[in-house]
Amino acid sequence: MDFETVIGLEVHAQMLTDTKIFCSCSTKFGGTPNSHTCPVCLGMPGVLPVLNKKVVEYAMKMALATNCEINKSCEFARKNYFYPDLPKGYQISQYAYPIAEHGYVLLDVNGEQKKIGITRIHMEEDAGKLIHDEHNPVSYVDLNRTGVPLIEIVSEPDMRSPEEAADYLKRLHEILVYLEICDGNMEEGSFRCDANVSIRPRGQKEFGTRTELKNMNSFRNVQRALEYEIKRQQYLVENGGTVVQETRLWDDAQGATNSMRSKEEAHDYRYFPDPDLVPILVDDAWVEKIKADLPELPLAKRERFVNEYQIPAYDAGVLTADKTLALYYEEVVKLCGKPKVASNWLMGDVMRFLNEDKRSIRECPIKTESLAEMIKLIDEGAISGKMAKEVVEDMYKTGKSPQDIIKEKGLVQITDEGELIKTITSIIEANQAQAAEYRSGKEKVFGFFVGQVMKATKGKANPQLVNELLKKMLAG
């Protein structure tokens, strides 16, 4: 049977505020357990939450960047359940009235634009962490993360393959990082994803029974878990079984999902409006102020790069995937005026060096001025492309300017015609037989002469000039 996959994602993004959502404790990752805590985030008796306004503004930024409608009035609700990492016995979240709804993100699917709907964005506080003793039957509670602000972005079930799901996640991640409201670090849990997945016979309108997948901490794992789960569901259906609505955990080592709890075991969270907090009212002026502060978003930047710099969409995609990389690129272009050449060098050699060293563009030792200068030197013919390869590697290793490197290594290209004519004359004289062959029509021999000239000049001869002179002189 031919099946269609239906995927919806719930993304939790940690907001990059200095302090927690309802108290003034630090949000820094790490730290001695329970050192970033106070009576408020510890859920002590009688304490009260006071909302960090920045969290609302960050959520509004994300809402605007994903084409959502921001609700004029929204409220916090309590999600009630017991767990040792949840000190109050409830999580302050949003339920009936979230900050924003009805948005979308555009994906490029097989060359066509596809809209992935966003159901809602809401604000909430994070829970703490349990640390289980490896040797004794004891668990410890670290509440440093308790009260760190999160936004949850819930998509419509609009994705039809694990690739689309991964692509959607990358787009969201990119937007969050662009907005500078989330550091996007998946390993530290700043960007987390749960997936709802079901299958149905192609053409069927009704959704199949879905399962919820948790514990996937990389883009790759999201894709792997979805692929596994789709196969598992297909196998069940094809063999007369049925999919059960449940929550399943991805096991990275095992490469499989395992049942965590069934629908019957699901919590009744008893949501109700939090009486300790007042409704948040958002007027148009506030929205306009946030809108005015929005940076250029990845999609817009990509389109602008294609139009303004006349580079391929692929290049624009790579260069805008990281805001700092895009900024770096634009500076280089501004200085050298060669957009395509700049893109080639940046995407080729420079990014290869960075990838090899697992560095980001922020840590790139090559200054934008240096890369631009090097491109100019090639264009002026001062160095050859081949020389530039050596220069760029040195620039990366030492952080020196191209001029300094060229000088140190004596890499100056020979563009002096007189000097080259002398060299070529002596080479032709020494290789009369080959010269005769060339003249009789065996043009292959031309390469031999180029090689000889380069050897004699230690590669410093300007290749174009060598070609020109050789052709003329061999012709006699």
Partner: protein, 485 residues
């Protein structure tokens, strides 16, 4: 007269003219405690050493001429208010060993005003009760008749004032927990507007209803206390940043021409005839003061108790979830795993009434029942509030009985929660509407039990309450009796 029997304003005069020291006042309070506390049981914890030290410090300040509004005045705190470094139990086993690392905002304010804290007053467990019988530390007795309850949940705060075991005290009122015990113990008790006094550090029962207020020996003291307690607190989101008047200016002003609303729904069958008679008498006094009584209607009054017993337990079920034995308070011993630890800690840690309300509240918020209970109750609550908004277009202040009966016997209603809940029938609506209310002594039953009259005003009109209560107090000339202890 002993110092401990005096009011704040009387003592302030004496302190200023040097005829008494703060230490003498505090000592007189503790000698009274030595004499009667065993029988009354106003306190869960006494803070004698702290109090004597604070009094000594107050005397030094007085010598320097630094006299603040409550300098040297012994005050009792309901044990629902967090006190830094001092065990705060909320009347519960589950918090029997909890020592807060912070002060409630009102504790900070009282400290800054020079108050001397006598101790932590007894209360119904988590303020859930109308008789102070649900306290894990045993019941408080009414000083007017030790066989009777003092009201609740702030019973200890009321008796401490009534039995002169302090000069004034702090309570909290979620459905009448200040006004009802004030009435049953013959003292003045005020529940301010929701948002007027900071709730930070008040252990939550029902967050949208809880409000802190004072118990005092007369209305002027009530004004003095409100001057200290009222005001915006950035630590509380529901705190209202509205101007705070000097409440003392309302003391002694007349109420000529004021319209006094008499809601027909509060004069119903089932009220003790002695209460009815006392309230009729109070109405006459108010008319003699120049007040004009007008008949008003609060049509949704009959739903108040039902609405309250959905909303308050719903909020409580969530507020009390934090008492899980993980971080502080009581944790059951000999448990093997997490769920058992939760269940046993809470089973052994909470009393029956608290468990009953947690269950009612959990049920009211459950999937499939939320709309029928919590949501419906919230909608009716809005109608109750609207009733008052309409009523205050026709009158300045509303007058009602505070309680349907005088103090009942200990044990009389403990097996009948519904009867117990009905003892708050006249005070609950105030909390649902968020408006302020005051109970003032208005006489005694033939058996000598105090009776209270309640005045209600619109949001942030505590000044009006002080004004009418003061005018009433002055003109009613209620015989000043002291409980025979």
């Amino acid at each position: 007269m002993e110092f401990n029997q005096s009011t704040i304003h009387e003592l302030q005069e004496k302190i200023k003219n040097g005829s008494v020291t703060a230490s003498q006042i505090t000592e007189s309070v503790f000698s009274r405690i030595d004499a009667v506390e065993e029988r009354v049981h106003s306190y869960i914890r006494l803070m004698k050493e702290n109090a004597l030290a604070a009094a000594k410090k107050a005397d030094e300040d007085i010598k320097k001429g630094d006299i603040k509004p409550l300098t040297g005045i012994p005050i009792a705190l309901k044990d629902i208010l967090c006190t830094k470094g001092i065990t705060t139990t909320c009347g519960s086993h589950i918090l029997h060993n909890f020592v807060p690392p912070y002060n409630a905002t009102v504790v900070e304010k009282l400290t800054a005003a020079g108050a001397v804290f006598v101790g932590k007053a007894n209360m119904d467990e988590f303020a859930m009760g109308s008789s102070t019988e649900t306290s894990w530390f045993g019941p408080t007795r009414n000083p007017w008749d030790l066989e009777r309850i003092p009201g609740g949940s702030s019973g200890g705060s009321a008796t401490a004032v009534a039995a002169d075991e302090c000069i004034a005290s702090i309570g909290s009122d979620t459905g009448g927990s200040i006004r009802q015990p004030a009435a049953l113990c013959g003292v003045v008790g005020l529940k301010p507007t929701y948002g007027r006094v900071s709730r930070f550090g008040l252990i939550a029962f029902a967050s949208s209803l809880d409000q802190i207020g004072p118990f005092t020996k007369d209305v002027e003291d009530c004004a003095i206390m409100m001057n200290v307690l009222a005001g915006y607190d950035p630590k509380e989101s529901t705190s209202v940043n509205a101007e705070v008047p000097d409440y003392r200016q309302f003391v002694g002003r007349d109420i000529k021409g004021w319209k006094i609303g008499i809601p027909k729904e509060y004069f119903i069958e089932g009220i003790d005839p002695e209460i009815t008679a006392a309230i009729q008498q109070a109405i006459k006094v108010i008319e003699l003061c120049g007040g004009v009584c007008v008949d008003i209607s609060l049509p949704h009054t009959q739903y108040c108790v039902a609405v309250y017993y959905i909303i308050a337990p719903a909020e409580a079920s969530s507020n009390l979830a934090r008492y899980d034995g993980v971080r502080y308070g009581f944790r059951a011993a000999d448990v093997r795993e997490l769920l058992e630890m939760y269940k046993e800690s809470r089973r052994q840690g909470f009393g029956a009434e608290v468990k009953r309300r947690i269950m009612i509240g959990t049920y009211a918020l459950s999937a499939g029942y939320y709309d029928a209970y919590y949501k419906k109750a919230s909608q009716v609550r809005a109608l109750i509030k609207k009733d008052f908004d309409e009523a205050f277009k026709k009158c300045d202040v509303i007058l009602t009985p505070t309680t349907p009966t005088p103090a009942f016997k200990i044990g009389e209603k403990t097996d009948d929660p519904l009867q117990m809940y009905l003892s708050d029938v006249f005070t609950i609506s105030t909390n649902l509407a968020g408006i302020p209310g005051i109970s003032v002594p208005c006489g005694y039953s033939t058996s000598g039990l105090p009776i209270g009259v309640q005045f209600l005003a619109s949001h942030f009109e505590e000044g009006k309450l002080i004004q009418i209560a003061s005018a009433y107090e002055k003109n009613a000339k209620i015989e000043k009796r002291r409980p025979a202890l």
